[in-house]
């Protein structure tokens, strides 16, 4: 479809861009009362109207801009998740003093462009577009990580992030160059067609041994490309940046970073995998014999095991949640490794659930940091007595992360495990056992926080005087955790057959 015709399908992104510019203009007015509120309202309105435009375009399933960009239910689902996440971050930043009012305009501006970047990422159906939007997301993330320029940890984190990101995007680009060299195109569906042709029998007959060579090259190239996605989703071995960046970045942004870019990376990878290497999605018939199930399974096992084991010894709650995020990426990869409709469904479902529970956990971390200035587990001692509501909510979010019924996290995990076990193969059974062992390990470190809150005695028994607005945000995040834990049929309905 030509660019002019495509524009009307590009409304959400355009609206987002419009509000982005508006924020920059409005932030030029300085020093008036209510600036914080005004900027937050504009950012919130931007996200709101974008979601409105997204809902308007429901039902469309086409490729626009000369097959560069997909406008389909799959991308819309994830875009809604990003908007929800962004909306909550705006609500949190509105109250969080960690982001100074002076720089609030910049923060919101860059946050919105980051979300725009993720929009582009989950819709890209062209390797070049994927690379560009991935870089878009990365660069805006670097800026927000190092947002507090005077904070040494923040700058250090940003630098680590940049170096690591630079290396990985180089690797990814290298992998993409292979695809271009082999097939003369960067369009993923076209690559698939080329792959089918190159692996066909007549081609093999004319050049003996070429199929074997082709498979190996494509395998190597896809793993290089995976590096880029793996870095965004923080899968082992591309997770090293995670704890340092999470610890150093301003906490509201850490909350965002731990959810949206992770899900965006997973979603973009899904599109790359499913449109590039499978004949069609309904039967998951692979085009080549690249063992994606095994690759993803091994990555999943490594990711969740390493994430969980590293989390055990963390004392900083942000670092702990960083490693727990790595582990959760492992669970999702485990579901995806089933390469089945159930696996995809489980991924969609888990994304939504993960959004609420991880965001909830971070909201509490932000509140406690604001009040006590600390991020260590010691700061949570006796919270059950000092602030019962906050402590109970945190416990609920953590139990949901462990996956204990009747909370939403359990349902998400149940679907992931169900997808794996439905494959009924030895390797998948093994993977499921590794998965449940990890669930048990994860209980241990989450329970350390819970223990500190309820069982250990507080040094200072004074209540913390938490704003009721922050309590309200926490409460709003609690609702879906319970609802999707007890009656999740509506969400399950939405998350079926997206691709």
């Amino acid at each position: 479809m030509s660019p002019a015709e495509s524009l009307k399908y590009f409304n959400p992104e355009l609206i987002m861009t419009g509000f982005l510019l508006l924020i920059i203009v409005v932030s030029l007015w300085k020093n008036y009362k209510g600036r914080r509120l005004a900027l937050s309202l504009i950012a919130f309105a931007g996200l709101f109207f974008t979601s409105f435009a997204l809902i308007q375009s429901a039902g469309e399933n086409i490729l626009i801009f000369h097959n560069l960009y997909a406008c389909d239910p799959f991308s819309r689902f994830f875009k809604m998740i990003f908007l929800l996440c962004g909306g909550f971050i705006v609500l949190i930043v509105f109250q969080a003093r960690e982001i100074k009012e002076k720089h609030l305009g910049e923060f919101y501006g860059i946050l919105l462009s980051l979300i725009l970047g993720m929009f582009l990422l989950v819709s890209s159906s062209n390797l070049l577009m994927i690379y560009l939007s991935l870089e878009f997301v990365s660069i805006t993330s670097y800026v927000l990580t190092g947002f507090n320029r005077n904070d040494r940890r923040s700058s250090e984190a940003a630098l680590k992030y940049v170096i690591y990101g630079g290396v990985v995007s180089g690797i990814m680009l290298f992998g993409m160059s292979y695809f271009y060299g082999l097939f003369g195109t960067l369009e993923i569906p076209a690559i698939k067609k080329g792959l089918i042709a190159a692996l066909s029998t007549p081609y093999e007959a004319s050049r003996p041994g070429s199929v074997q060579a082709m498979r190996l090259t494509v395998l190597a190239a896809s793993i290089f490309v995976f590096a880029g996605f793996g870095y965004k989703m923080a899968a082992v071995p591309f997770h090293m940046w995670c704890p340092d960046v999470y610890e150093g970045a301003p906490t509201p942004f850490t909350a965002f970073l731990s959810i949206a870019p992770k899900i965006a990376g997973l979603a973009a990878f899904c599109r790359f995998l499913l449109t590039g290497f499978f004949e069609n999605i309904s039967n998951f018939l692979p085009v080549t014999e690249i063992p994606w199930g095994a690759i993803l399974g091994i990555l999943a096992a490594a990711t969740m095991t390493l994430g969980n084991l590293s989390a055990i010894s963390q004392n900083n709650v942000k670092r702990l949640l960083a490693y727990s995020g790595v582990a959760h990426c492992g669970y999702i990869l485990m579901g995806l490794s089933a390469l089945s409709g159930e696996g995809l469904f489980a991924f969609y479902f888990y994304s939504v659930v993960y959004l609420f529970m991880n965001l909830g956990a971070f909201v509490i971390v932000i509140i406690i940091r604001e009040k006590t200035g600390q991020e260590n587990i010691e700061a949570y001692k006796g919270l059950g007595v000092r602030e019962p509501f906050i402590a109970v909510s945190f416990a609920v979010f953590l139990f949901s992360l462990i996956g204990i019924p009747p909370l939403a996290g359990f349902i998400g995990k149940f679907y992931l495990f169900a997808a794996v076990i439905h494959k009924a193969q030895a390797w998948y059974y093994l993977l499921a056992i590794i998965g449940i062992l990890n669930s048990v390990i994860s209980l241990y470190y989450y329970a350390r926080i819970i223990k500190a809150m309820f069982i250990e005695k507080a040094v200072d028994e004074q209540p913390l005087q938490i704003f009721s607005f922050q309590k309200l945000v926490t409460f709003v995040l609690l609702i879906p955790i319970f609802i999707f834990g007890i009656y999740w049929q509506p969400l399950a309905k939405v998350a079926t057959f997206l691709f």
């Binding site: 169900a418 076990i421 030895a426 059974y429 056992i433 209980l443 309820f454 069982i455 049929q489 399950a492």
Partner: protein
């Protein structure tokens, strides 16, 4: 197979009345913050609410007992509808001979535990657990009751799993927050052990789901797979799971059986998974020990009957000898460990392990006497062990120690208490005429023709049990009075309210156990005949 439809909602009321209580307590907490009500009034209000809701649940369950038709082998009081269409999950509660006795036991013991949790009708000092964070304690106690009742009543595997896990969290907090000096260690150990067991069960549950046959749900829709337990039972008894594709090279039924069994065996607790129990018991406050020993352990025994026996008869037959061996180890090993205990509560905890071994031994024999004996043993132990833990609580509340060696000659100082202890100990060691005897003797009678050696070895435990109980009585109540304890006083009214009903029931069922057998035997006998008739696994 009968396609059950909703007949009544009474079971749902029994299960969820405690949750209504939780809601009411939450409202009182809200009111307290709004109107600045005095803490003492709010605490008493939450105590009252939980007493009323446990009492209501008990009365309703008694009503169910009254309406229960003992001559039938089918489900009664069914409440069923489709819960989540997306995964064919149903809300399905019902009562049959396997769970009726345990449901009534649960509501009764929780009521007793609730009475033991209030500081009324007798003196308690300010350090007493019942004075700390009372609304939270009561909320958790009520959630725990819903979890336990739901576990016993649920007839959809998924629903069962949800209730099974709901039992976990309250227990963790009840031990961890209101427990003794090593509560952190005990609570997390309990949590890790039981979670490990239940996630294993989760995998088995999913595997069974995907192996199940198409089935018509409550709304008339045809589902490819189902969690419905009566449907799974019908498939299992027709040999569906015995023929299912192997897992990792082992027969499907064997793998699933072991996964389920480990999940339940941790709760029972079976050797070698029993080590969480003494820690949890010693650190838990008295009423929580009462619930833990009285009901929570029975969920394991119940689960084995409901899932391993009903769904996988071939595998049950295959594993019978192993069950008997583990039962024997439980009985004898734990009895010897009891001999070495100096802490009264730890001694009772290990005696629980020993007595739950009888349940396993009775299950393994597949004779009508043994299996009825095993289920009766669960009920009897569910009455005796709460009494024992209450007794340990009585002395701990007064002396703040449970070291058996520190006491002596208490019989003169506390005659009524000594009498109750004597009764409970005698019941636990299996004195004829008391409830503990019936279960043990039936298990021995039923198991002897099948496992001669194991039964004889297990029977030696009777002597050891008598030895450690009598020795404990000797050290605590007879001999020279230790002047340190001259300030001790005899049982107060709160303790009488909890101890006497239990004592009366122990004596009643010791002389006349037929009410229980009438309830259970019609469902148990077909169960074992299916197992005996089932074929061999590949």
């Amino acid at each position: 197979m009968i396609n059950y439809q909703t007949t009544t909602t009474i079971v749902s009321w029994v299960v969820f009345i405690p949750i209504i209580g939780v809601g009411s307590i939450l409202i009182t907490i809200g009111l307290r913050y709004l109107f600045k009500i005095d803490k003492k009034i709010a605490d008493n209000l939450s105590r009252l609410i939980s007493l009323i809701s446990t009492l209501l649940a008990f009365i309703l369950s008694l009503k169910m007992w009254g309406f229960f038709e003992t001559g039938m082998n089918t489900l009664q009081f069914v409440h069923r509808f489709v819960w989540i269409e997306n995964f064919n999950i149903e809300y399905f509660l019902g009562i049959d001979g396997i769970n009726i006795a345990l449901v009534i036991l649960t509501t009764f013991i929780t009521l007793i535990a609730c009475i033991a949790s209030v500081p009324w009708w007798g003196h308690v000092d300010d350090r007493h657990f019942s004075k700390r964070m009372t609304p939270g304690y009561m909320i958790l106690l009520l959630i725990l009751e819903t979890g336990m009742l739901g576990t016993f009543c649920a007839l959809d595997f998924f629903l069962f799993y949800i209730f099974w896990e709901i039992m976990l969290l309250p227990m963790y907090f009840l031990i961890g927050v209101w427990g003794g000096p090593r509560k952190e260690y005990a609570a997390i150990k309990f949590f890790l052990y039981t979670l490990a067991g239940s996630v294993l069960m989760l995998l088995a549950m999913i595997a069974i789901y995907y192996a199940s046959e198409p089935f018509i749900l409550a709304d008339g829709r045809l589902a490819h797979h189902t969690f419905n337990i009566p449907a799974l039972t019908a498939s299992g008894q027709s040999g569906l799971f015995a023929r299912a594709n192997p897992i990792l090279g082992f027969a499907f039924a064997k793998v699933v059986w072991i996964a389920l069994f480990i999940g339940f065996a941790i709760k029972i607790p079976m050797f070698p998974f029993h080590t969480w129990l003494p820690d949890a018991h010693v650190e838990a406050p008295t009423p929580i020990s009462v619930i833990l020993a009285g009901i929570l352990l029975k969920t394991g025994g119940y689960g084995i009957l409901r899932f391993n026996f009903q769904l996988l008869p071939e595998a049950t037959k295959w594993a019978a000898a192993a069950m008997a061996v583990f039962g024997m180890i439980n009985i004898v090993y734990a009895a010897y460990v009891c001999m070495a205990q100096s802490d009264l509560k730890k001694l009772i905890a290990y005696s629980s392990v020993s007595h739950m071994g009888f349940v396993l031994l009775g299950y393994a024999a597949f004779t009508p006497q043994a299996i009825s004996g095993a289920v009766f043993q669960m009920v009897a132990h569910g009455l005796i062990s709460p009494m024992l833990f209450l007794i340990a609580g009585v002395i701990y509340d007064r002396a703040h120690t449970r070291e058996i060696g520190e006491f002596g000659g208490l019989a003169n100082k506390m005659p009524e208490y000594t009498g109750l202890v004597g009764l409970a100990f005698m019941a636990s060691l299996g004195l004829p005429g008391l409830a503990g005897f019936i279960g043990e003797v039936l298990v021995f009678l039923g198991a002897f023709p099948v496992y001669k050696v194991f039964t004889i070895i297990s029977a030696t435990s009777v002597v050891i049990t008598a030895a450690y109980y009598l020795w404990t009585i000797h050290r605590m109540f007879l001999g020279k009075f230790n002047e340190k304890w001259s300030a001790l006083w005899d049982v107060n009214w709160r303790e009488r309210f909890t101890l006497y009903p239990l004592a009366a029931l122990i004596i009643f069922f010791g002389f006349y156990p037929m009410p229980i057998f009438n309830l259970i035997s019609n469902s148990l006998n077909p169960l074992i005949s299916v197992i005996i008739a089932s074929g061999k696994l590949p």
